[in-house]
Each structure stands twice: as C-alpha cells, then as structure tokens.
Symmetry: C2
Subunit: 153 residues, 2 copies
C-alpha cells in the first residue's frame, strides 16, 4: 500500500520532484537577488518572499523522503500527509502567482525602455521567472500526487 | 450517490459556483475592456483572452447544472467528468496567472507615474484584477469538488 502511488510522499519519484523544486527555486532566487534593484518592484519582492518559503519547505521534505527511501520506509499518517498536501497546494499557487507577476512585469519593463531595465538585468529577470515557472510545475506535481494518495488511506 | 459531494457537477452548490464565475469574469472583462488601452500591455491582453475562455466554459456548464437541478438529474459519466475537471483545472491556473499579472502590472504602472496610467483608468485595472482573483477562487473550488468526486465513481 505504501508503494501504490508513484510520486507520493516517501517514494523515489517524490525525492526527485523535491530535488528539482530546490534546484529551480534556488536558481530563481539567485538570478533575482544578484541584481541590486529587486526591492524596488513589488512583484520581484513577492517572488523573493515566495522562493524564500519554498526552499526551506522543500529542503525539509527532501530529508524526509531521503530517509524514507534509503533508511526505513515510514508509514503514511493521514494527519501529517494532510498538512503536507495543504502546504504544497498553497506554495504551488503562490509560486505560480509570483512567476506570472515577475514575467509580466519584466515584459512591461522591456517595453517601457532601457532606462528602467538595462538589457543584462532584464534577461536575468526573465531567467528568474522561467525558473519560478519550472519550480511551480514540480510543486504542483507533488501536490497532485499527494492528493491522489488520500482516498487510499 | 449523485448527491454525495456538495459542489460537484449537477448539484445546486455547483450551479451557484458557476453563476459566481460568470458574474466575476464578466465584470473583470468589462472593467478591462471599457478602457481603450488594454491591448498595449501583454498582461492585460492575457487577462482578456483568459476571461474570454472562462465565460463560455462557465456558461456551458451552468446550463448543464441548471438542467440537472431543475429538470432531470443527469448520471455522472466518468469520461465527461474527467474532461470537465481537466478544463476547470487549466482555466483556474490560467485565471490565477492572469489575475496576478494584471495586479502586478497595475501596481508597477501606479509607481511609474501618471503619464502611463491616469488615476481613473488605474483604479479600473485594480478592480478588474480583484474580480479576476474572485473568479479564480470560485473556479478553483469547482475543480477541487469535481476532483473529490473521482474516487467515488
């Protein structure tokens, strides 16, 4: 029963999804923060905040998954799984909102002209938005797999 | 069995959700389109496109729900329900992305100054974004309730 849903908590597919989330959200945060001006736009601050929430969340869960895969298979406890699924959903919606805000603001800055956004900075904002979209996609996959596990509990 | 999940296809709660989606997405579209300059920003075009998809989708489903509530209870067919749930999910993600893009672009336009966005237009963009968020919330609720119905089929 623990192995029924691939991608749910404690399987190796879940471990891979979490690792991907960590990589993409860290990349998104770095691309955004290495520029100095991110705090002057609300959307970029929002992205930094959300990524700052996603990284510790995924780090915690990657440890749980790694323990479950390599050391000892942990049993599924409905209450803990519910908290994890809820957290995944909330973070996945927040990261979608942050990614699309960043993408649209970057697009607008490109249109308005180079006074607001030198070409080098703008391409980094775009990369950051792309990484945030990838991170959203993976965290949505995790949330969906965990939700799928519910009826079998 | 058809009445097991409140809010799933064919119940009166679902009818109310769909009506709310139509009202909020139409309001969002009108607030955006009555201004003349929406096509000069990518995010606003995206919002108009998404709302133009949400309105006919909800209109179709509100007819199905109304028929099911007032005339004759329709049986749940897994294949049709799957298509409806999938469409709900896709549209709910698109409308969240559109709403947050619109909100962040409006916020940026307010910061940049009144040359880009007269006060009257900007408050209408904000209203439009708020309506889009409400429409997202309702369509997310519909998608969740329909997904919940799956295991019982």
């Amino acid at each position: 029963m623990e192995e029924e849903v691939p991608g749910a908590m404690g399987t190796s597919a879940s471990l891979a999804l979490r690792l991907g989330q960590i990589i993409f959200s860290t990349a998104s945060l770095l691309f955004m923060c290495m520029g100095v001006e991110f705090y002057s736009y609300t959307a970029f601050c929002f992205l930094v905040t959300v990524m700052g929430l996603v990284i510790p969340w995924s780090l915690t869960l990657v440890l749980v998954d790694a323990y479950s895969v390599f050391v000892k298979c942990l049993p599924h406890q409905p209450r803990i799984l519910m908290v994890i699924t809820l957290g995944d959903w909330v973070l996945s919606f927040l990261s979608l909102a942050a990614a699309s805000s960043t993408a649209s603001v970057t697009d607008l800055l490109l249109d308005v002209g180079s006074t607001f956004c030198p070409a080098k900075l703008c391409s980094r904002y775009q990369l950051s938005a792309a990484m945030a979209f990838l991170s959203w996609f993976l965290s949505f996959a995790s949330a969906l797999f965990n939700l799928w596990l519910f009826p079998s509990l």
